[in-house]
Assembly symmetry: C2
């Protein structure tokens, strides 16, 4: 019989000391940002059948639930420091816990991000992480900082996670190899932490957001917060390797409004183009210019020739979609 306290001790408490003045095992953890720094804080809750399939691989889940939180830090340009984990589990299954902890800590260790506390309870599977990063005041990549004339950039590639979902749902035929390759993108996203930090540290970008609900919807948050518009060249969007081999209509749709990409969408002055390419290279992340920020409100989708495109797209909304 695995008790709540044994569960935490065996799977989540690690011997090695980290940045926190006090970690797992008291009523609160104690943590201070480096002198003069702000903390960037984000919470994400992942629910079975909503954010992942029932029976999803535990190791993958451990990776993904931390990855989506690291992606929020990346979108602000913050350095990861620590996180809390609250976990509702139908049962305390040792194999599941070992796999989940392995996936979680493998990614946490890559980013020097320490588990400092949390909660465990019995209940329908639900994983809630709150993550803490740090940032110099004034350096955050905020949604409200885009300026007309800025270039619009995308990190990495888009659409393979959405393509995998279409394959799993049998909405679109994918052979086993394609589904495996696209599925890896859906299950184990790579948060663009190094790129975000480089953009913020050197003040290369104005605004940024991470693409979780689909580019068009997420870019819309930057436009609304910054009170600007944009022209987006849909054919310039960098499709993931599996999606790149599919028909144009699918490429356009899944790049522009796929979701689960965890790439960065950011805006930056034209004068920073070379510095951005250099920073992207140094952080091992591709970047692509895909449009411009305009003074006129609204998002204009255009094709490679600059002609208006009328795509029927919708951002993902947890309460609108069934």
């Amino acid at each position: 019989m695995l008790s709540e306290f044994d569960l935490i001790k065996q799977y989540f408490k690690r011997p090695r000391p980290g940045r926190a003045a006090l970690g797992i095992g008291d009523d609160c953890a104690l943590l201070a940002p480096s002198p003069g720094m702000q903390m960037a804080i984000s919470s994400d809750m992942l629910v079975e059948d909503r954010h992942f399939f029932a029976g999803a691989d535990a190791r993958m889940l451990g990776h993904k639930c931390l990855a989506v939180n690291l992606s929020d830090l990346a979108a602000m340009g913050a350095r990861p420091v620590a996180f809390t984990l609250a976990l509702a589990l139908p049962a305390a299954n040792r194999d599941w816990l070992a796999g989940f902890a392995a996936g979680l800590f493998a990614l946490a260790d890559q980013h020097g991000c320490e588990l400092i506390g949390g909660d465990t309870t019995k209940g329908p599977l639900n994983i809630c992480i709150t993550i803490f990063g740090e940032l110099a005041p004034g350096h955050a990549l905020r949604r409200d900082a885009a300026i007309a004339g800025d270039d619009l950039w995308i990190s990495g590639t888009l659409g393979d996670a959405r393509l995998a979902l279409a394959g799993y749902r049998k909405e679109y035929p994918l052979d086993a190899a394609a589904l495996l390759a696209a599925g890896a993108r859906m299950h184990t996203p790579s948060p663009r932490v190094a790129l975000g930090m480089a953009l913020a540290d050197a003040r290369l970008a104005h605004a940024a957001i991470d693409i979780s609900d689909g580019l068009v919807g997420d870019l819309g948050h930057i436009l609304a917060a910054s009170k600007v518009g944009a022209t987006l060249d849909v054919d310039a969007l960098p499709a993931g390797p599996v999606l790149a081999a599919q028909p144009q209509a699918l490429r356009r749709s899944f790049c522009a409004a796929g979701g689960d990409d965890y790439e960065l969408c950011f805006t930056a002055p034209r004068s920073r183009r070379d510095a951005i390419v250099a920073a992207a290279h140094a952080s091992g992340t591709a970047v692509t210019r895909v449009g411009t920020i305009d003074a006129a409100p609204g998002l204009r989708l255009v094709d490679g020739a600059g002609h208006a495109l009328d795509l029927q797209l919708a951002a993902f909304d947890h309460f609108a979609s069934a």
Copy 2:
């Protein structure tokens, strides 16, 4: 149709600016502790049918889910600053949201604690709050700081929440008035934030914990972390007003191992007795001395005459109990 973004805007985003440099609406919130201070951080997850009954009053739930987190700050002696809220909801029901937000913000405002971000999603009802307080370094009331010879203290009263649960479950007959009075203690606990801060600020106490899973179990965490034992006078435990009118066996059991009390259990040197009573008075919270910390390991339960008591008690464990 209430979208995810409308839901946040209508029910959770508030016009008045708080301590955070950036609140709800970006990838992360930005928050810095006051210069020189540490952040105390705690997460609690509340699940339907586990921590509260299905169909529980939304306003009460809004209060309780924040109260249990404030209680963790109180147990460290930290000043509440801010919190994030992650919410999985079966549906976006306006009445439920309005009630929940009212209960949540009424308590948050009492403690100057600002909602700075979070997440909402569709799913089985699950409420996860991560709370942030601040503390001067070295002032935290830690579980590992009890010293042999310390007095053992309890704030407020114990057992009425457990008595209400027994009443709701028909394990024990309670008339409607008694159930209503005891139920209030279960549904709307009062976190002992002012007392915890007073104890930490003036360094009056050594160790502290909040009583959520039952005194004997929670005190056990102090004893284990501090490598000490204790003698607990079960008949000195301050029973809640409804429990106080019940038979002795029930009083002893529910005071010693009730759960859901959200009182503080703390240890302090004998030399601080007068200062503690004065601090308790100033913070509007009763305190009672109920035993002593011993060098010999183990917890010894005694009656009012000092004779050993053999109570069959078990702390609440989320995975041990069905």
